[in-house]
């Protein structure tokens, strides 16, 4: 992970930078790239594409969960930070909670692994749970929670180390639409208040347009960036945006850009 870290100075306003990154699997299949991507500090970017277009792979490369076959992945660290302050938080497609541990212990995990002092950890855990609106459920076990609440716990765990960058891999894909809309709004609130950089992977056009400042459309086999859309709309976005004609227009454009890649996928 050492080579992926850079100091703030040489990075300027860039939080994540991918240069000519490819990922080739052991069986010789090129899953990704070459891919060039820059995400600015505080930006909300969505990677949108069909299943198997390598968007999740790209996210795992940024997180350091996988290593690129070629190219360079760099993630900015805040200058002078303590070791404990992990630069990225990751939210998986599944809640990925430890079923044997309470909500509190699940959220505390990243702090425990970095040997944070108990008092400080308690405060951080409480704050993170409050941010996702689950302060009262600290002692519950994951199985006692609904799908949406589990996802909130997962989000709290990603926030507990106060990372600069939040990586989210189709986090709401398995939720019902009502829960999903609510979590979309809560995520936007968190992003505005906490000023995080968010890289959000999704296969939903509507979700990507609603959430992002920038939507990056990817094609599959191998995963490449095919087009980019900047979603300009007055802040703060609220539920009204979903009903606006501007929103519908963006969705139409993005869908059109996506359709060749769908056609390609079905033809393969």
């Amino acid at each position: 992970m050492a080579d992926t870290a850079s100091s703030e100075g040489e990075f300027g306003s860039v939080a994540v930078r991918l240069r000519g990154v490819t990922k080739v699997y052991d069986n010789g299949v090129t899953a990704l790239g070459p891919l060039d991507l820059e995400v600015a500090r505080g930006e909300f970017v969505s990677l949108l594409g069909p299943s198997g277009c390598g968007k999740s792979t790209a996210l795992r490369l940024i997180a350091g969960l996988a290593t690129p076959s070629s190219g360079a992945v760099s993630v900015s660290h805040r200058a002078g930070e303590a070791d404990r302050r992990h630069p990225v938080g990751f939210v998986f497609q599944e809640p990925t909670l430890m079923p044997w541990a309470s909500v509190r212990e699940n959220v505390r995990l990243p702090l425990k692994l970095s040997h944070a002092p108990a008092g400080e950890a308690d405060a951080r855990v409480h704050e993170a749970l409050a941010q996702v609106g689950l302060a009262e459920f600290a002692d519950a076990f994951p199985r006692e929670l609904s799908g949406g609440m589990k996802m909130r716990v997962s989000l709290a765990r990603a926030l507990v180390t106060d990372p600069d960058i939040l990586l989210m891999d189709e986090p709401f894909a398995a939720l019902d639409e009502i829960t999903r809309f609510r979590l979309n709004n809560d995520l936007l609130d968190l992003w505005r208040n906490l000023k995080k950089t968010v890289v959000f992977v999704t296969h939903s056009v509507f979700e990507s347009v609603y959430l992002s400042q920038r939507v990056i459309v990817m094609t599959s086999r191998p995963g490449r960036i095919s087009s980019e859309f900047r979603i300009d709309t007055p802040e703060p976005r609220v539920e009204d945006f979903r009903m606006s004609s501007g929103y519908a227009g963006y969705c139409r454009e993005v869908s059109k850009a996506l359709s060749p890649s769908y056609a390609g996928a079905s033809g393969a």
């Binding site: 992970m1 990751f90 990925t96 079923p99 044997w100 692994l113």
Partner: protein, 262 residues
């Protein structure tokens, strides 16, 4: 949570047992079968009470052997699985021999062990051999069944090997380990009995299995049945205890320990 199914689960087997005993007693009485061929359940029960001093002492011996074998099986089984999990080379070197030890019938090994080891040790070793493999293989399975995303999460936050083991792998493997222990408990009893029969020595320190063999030579069939009854009861208690422990440990989170609804 209606009470009828719960009541039925206890009541129905008891009714079957009572019916079986009555039928057994009736068959023995009507056909006038001699006790040295087939004793009735009443006689077996009387024998159990009359011979209690001898039988209870032997029960104690067998239970102690079982316990020693079980504890050894649990400790060695879990420890080996942890070592295998940390080192592939060690696993490849030793696992085949654990399998060989498991597939060779213990009744065939027992006479050899009795030649090379003091009798009491040999009997415990037999109980251990039968018991340890389920613990080893179940623990190994559990340690390898860790959720891949959770493992990724631990890597993301730079968890050390020890932390991953302690906070992730061991808790994830716990239901499997407890399942292995549940099997090992019963098997340790079987191992102890097999070894006692193979050892076949008389005297003060002899277990229940020896009492059965000895009573068989003397055509004391009621005592054979009484000893057998005690062995079954011991097996049931061991299984029940381990199942209870497993339930208490897992009840907060594991599917196996939760109610049907939800």
């Amino acid at each position: 949570m209606s009470s009828l199914p719960n009541l039925g689960r206890i009541l129905l087997p008891v009714i079957v047992l009572a019916a079986g005993l009555v039928a057994w007693e009736a068959v023995v009485d009507v056909n006038d079968i001699q006790p040295y061929v087939l004793p009735g359940p009443l006689l077996v029960f009387q024998t159990l009470i009359r011979d209690w001093t001898v039988l209870s002492e032997s029960l104690g011996v067998t239970l102690l052997t079982t316990l020693e074998g079980f504890v050894a099986a649990a400790v060695v089984g879990v420890a080996l699985a942890l070592l295998f999990n940390q080192s592939r080379a060690l696993e490849y070197s030793l696992f085949p021999y654990a399998v060989i030890l498991q597939v060779t019938p213990v009744i065939a090994i027992a006479p050899l062990l009795l030649i090379y080891l003091p009798q009491q040790t040999a009997v415990v070793v037999c109980a251990w051999i039968v018991g340890f493999f389920p613990v080893l293989s179940n623990t190994t399975l559990g340690l390898n069944s860790v959720d891949r995303n959770l493992a990724g999460l631990f890597r993301l936050y730079g968890a050390s090997r020890l932390q991953t083991l302690r906070y992730l792998k061991l808790p994830a493997a716990l239901p499997y380990i407890l399942g292995g222990l549940r099997i090992a408990g019963g098997l340790s009893l079987i191992g102890a009995v097999v070894a006692e029969i193979a050892a076949g020595t008389a005297g003060a320190g002899s277990g229940l299995a020896f009492r059965i063999a000895e009573a068989g030579y003397r055509l004391n069939i009621p005592r054979m049945f009484a000893a057998l009854l005690l062995l079954s009861a011991a097996g049931i208690v061991i299984y029940g205890l381990l199942a209870l422990i497993s339930h208490l440990v897992l009840r907060r989170w594991h599917e196996s320990a939760l109610g049907k609804e939800n």
